[in-house]
């Protein structure tokens, strides 16, 4: 029982990381209607920025994360401006999709050039040891607790931002109908930039947490979590913020439990099987709404 609980909690923690990454995917998809496959690599860049800040420049962890967030936000805005915006309104969505894949390799290669392929061993941004329950039989690491809390705070903050601020409402409007949003006086390009900024800033946080839990950093660190988070976003219903959160948590728990109780090798296969089954039953994902159009 304790074993199960332990695995479950670490699954929630891993799931929170997936969820934070998935939020970036889902927001960009909802608002710019594109799949930003380079999003996973922004996490990796975030990891390197935190590493550089902490190890090379001796920043304290919080300052290092802040530095990484600023860096990733700028990276996100620039990527969108330079690579994706010129293709917006192009006849085929494939053009921007392929560009995003290209951007993913571009970020990996640049990081290879700068940081080399040698894995960097990451020091956790969380110094707290954690808590020990049931006479020491149930140990929960500090980074696990902090990760779960961070995920919850981000979800709440994002919901508040979307529902209570003008910029958040503009995002919702743009995600539904760009033309009608323009008629309201909303600058669609600025709104899309803001979405990339938020998604990339969150990716930096995800990078710091991911590397703290799994402390090996290479230029390919972001690739697999990126794909998993994309699966989480689709599972939850792409475009939906609570969906990304639920999809992420579900995926993290499923992965941890499969690894512990079924098979380490099969864990990813099981995760993708879950995705396929959910999509067969609910093609729009768990929280995805079916759009009804009224004429």
């Amino acid at each position: 029982m304790l074993d199960f609980l332990n695995t479950f909690i670490s699954g929630i923690s891993l799931g929170s990381i997936y969820a934070i990454i998935a939020l970036g995917y889902t927001m960009v998809y909802g608002i710019a209607k594109m799949l930003n496959f380079a999003h996973g690599d922004v996490i990796m860049v975030g990891g390197y920025l935190v590493y550089t800040g902490m190890i090379s420049w001796g920043f304290n962890p919080l300052l290092a994360i802040l530095f990484a967030m600023v860096g990733c936000t700028i990276l996100g805005i620039l990527t969108e401006r330079i690579a994706y915006k010129p293709l917006r309104g192009a006849t085929s969505n494939l053009a921007v999709l392929i560009t995003a894949i290209g951007m993913s390799y571009f970020l990996q290669n640049i990081s290879l050039q700068i940081f080399t392929a040698n894995p960097k061993s990451f020091t956790s941004v969380v110094k707290w040891e954690g808590i020990s329950l049931a006479d020491g039989q149930l140990k929960i690491q500090g980074v696990t607790i902090i990760t779960i809390l961070t995920g919850a705070v981000i979800l709440l903050a994002l919901q508040l931002f979307i529902n209570k601020t003008k910029a958040g409402q503009a995002m919702l409007a743009v995600s539904e109908d760009k033309g009608a949003a323009t008629l309201m006086g909303i600058d669609v390009n600025k709104t899309i930039s803001l979405t990339f900024a938020i998604g990339s800033g969150l990716a930096a946080i995800a990078g710091a947490l991911l590397c703290s839990a799994y402390p090996v950093l290479t230029p390919y660190t972001g690739a697999m979590p990126g794909i998993k988070a994309f699966v989480a976003a689709v599972l939850g219903g792409i475009g939906s913020i609570p969906g990304a959160m639920i999809g992420g948590l579900l995926l993290g728990v499923a992965e941890s439990l499969s690894k512990r109780f079924i098979s380490t090798q099969l864990a990813d296969a099981i995760v993708f099987t879950i995705l396929i089954i959910v999509l067969l039953v609910r093609p729009t994902g768990l929280m995805g709404r079916k759009l009804q159009e009224k004429v």
Partner: protein, 236 residues
């Protein structure tokens, strides 16, 4: 100077010339109707005026501003509102959120609240349903929401695109009385309609559009009497 002056406007859809040199003007305080059959280019003209699609040639001047040089989203702040064809309310947002988005460009929140109260007074249905998702409203309610949303920006001019489309005769009457209410608030109106009789009944002047060109223009009441118009647009 006219409030809106369109000169020799040409608009292309890819290789197709949709608008082939259209000129018209709207004076402050007028209701001007643009009538014509399906596919004549009425909606295209409105979309071009709002900056949603680019013009190929010609000029559009709104209150002294060269519309072709301004990004579309800035026109709302200059006093132009647009009630688009098919209403295009934000279906997954509430009625109140839709209305507030209408006031997106306004800064003074006290004044905005006043406008909201005024709209609630004239559209009690919208007040009743303010926390309902706009997508759950009936077609007529959605049309009212789209009009209320346009009023929220406190416009000097509203472009209305087929406000009566798909509505029952009773609702069409209601929609037209709303247009007259907007007009009574001092708002200038450019109305695009297939329902030529209703449009000509409330308009001061009208232009008749035929495949991308203006074929006739004049005072609305005179056009109502014109044999050619009766035959082509008024059903006998």
């Amino acid at each position: 100077m006219s409030m809106l002056e369109v000169k020799d406007l040409e608009v292309n859809y890819g290789m197709i010339k949709a608008i082939k040199g259209v000129s018209f003007h709207v004076e402050a305080g007028e209701i001007v109707a643009l009538i014509g059959a399906n596919g004549a280019g009425k909606t295209t003209i409105l979309h071009t005026i709002s900056g949603l699609i680019p013009a190929a040639a010609g000029s559009i001047v709104f209150e002294g501003n060269d519309v072709r040089r301004i990004p579309g989203y800035k026109l709302t702040g200059l006093g132009m509102a647009h009630v688009p064809e098919g209403r295009r309310v934000f279906a997954e947002m509430t009625v109140l959120q839709n209305l507030r988005l209408g006031a997106y460009t306004r800064k003074d929140s006290a004044e905005t609240e006043e406008t909201l109260e005024m709209i609630y007074q004239h559209f009690p249905r919208l007040k009743e349903r303010r926390s309902q998702l706009a997508g759950t409203l009936s077609g007529g309610e959605q049309q009212m929401l789209a009009m209320g949303r346009a009023l929220m920006s406190k416009p000097t001019m509203i472009l209305m695109d087929e406000p009566s489309m798909g509505l029952s005769p009773l609702l069409v009457k209601e929609v037209f009385s709303i247009i007259e209410f907007c007009h009574s608030q001092g708002i200038t109106i450019l109305l695009v309609e297939q329902n030529a009789r209703m449009a000509l009944n409330i308009a001061d002047r009208a232009y008749v559009l035929e495949v991308g060109k203006i074929s006739m223009e004049g005072k609305a009441n005179e056009l109502l009497e014109s044999e050619a118009i009766k035959k082509a647009y008024l059903g006998g």
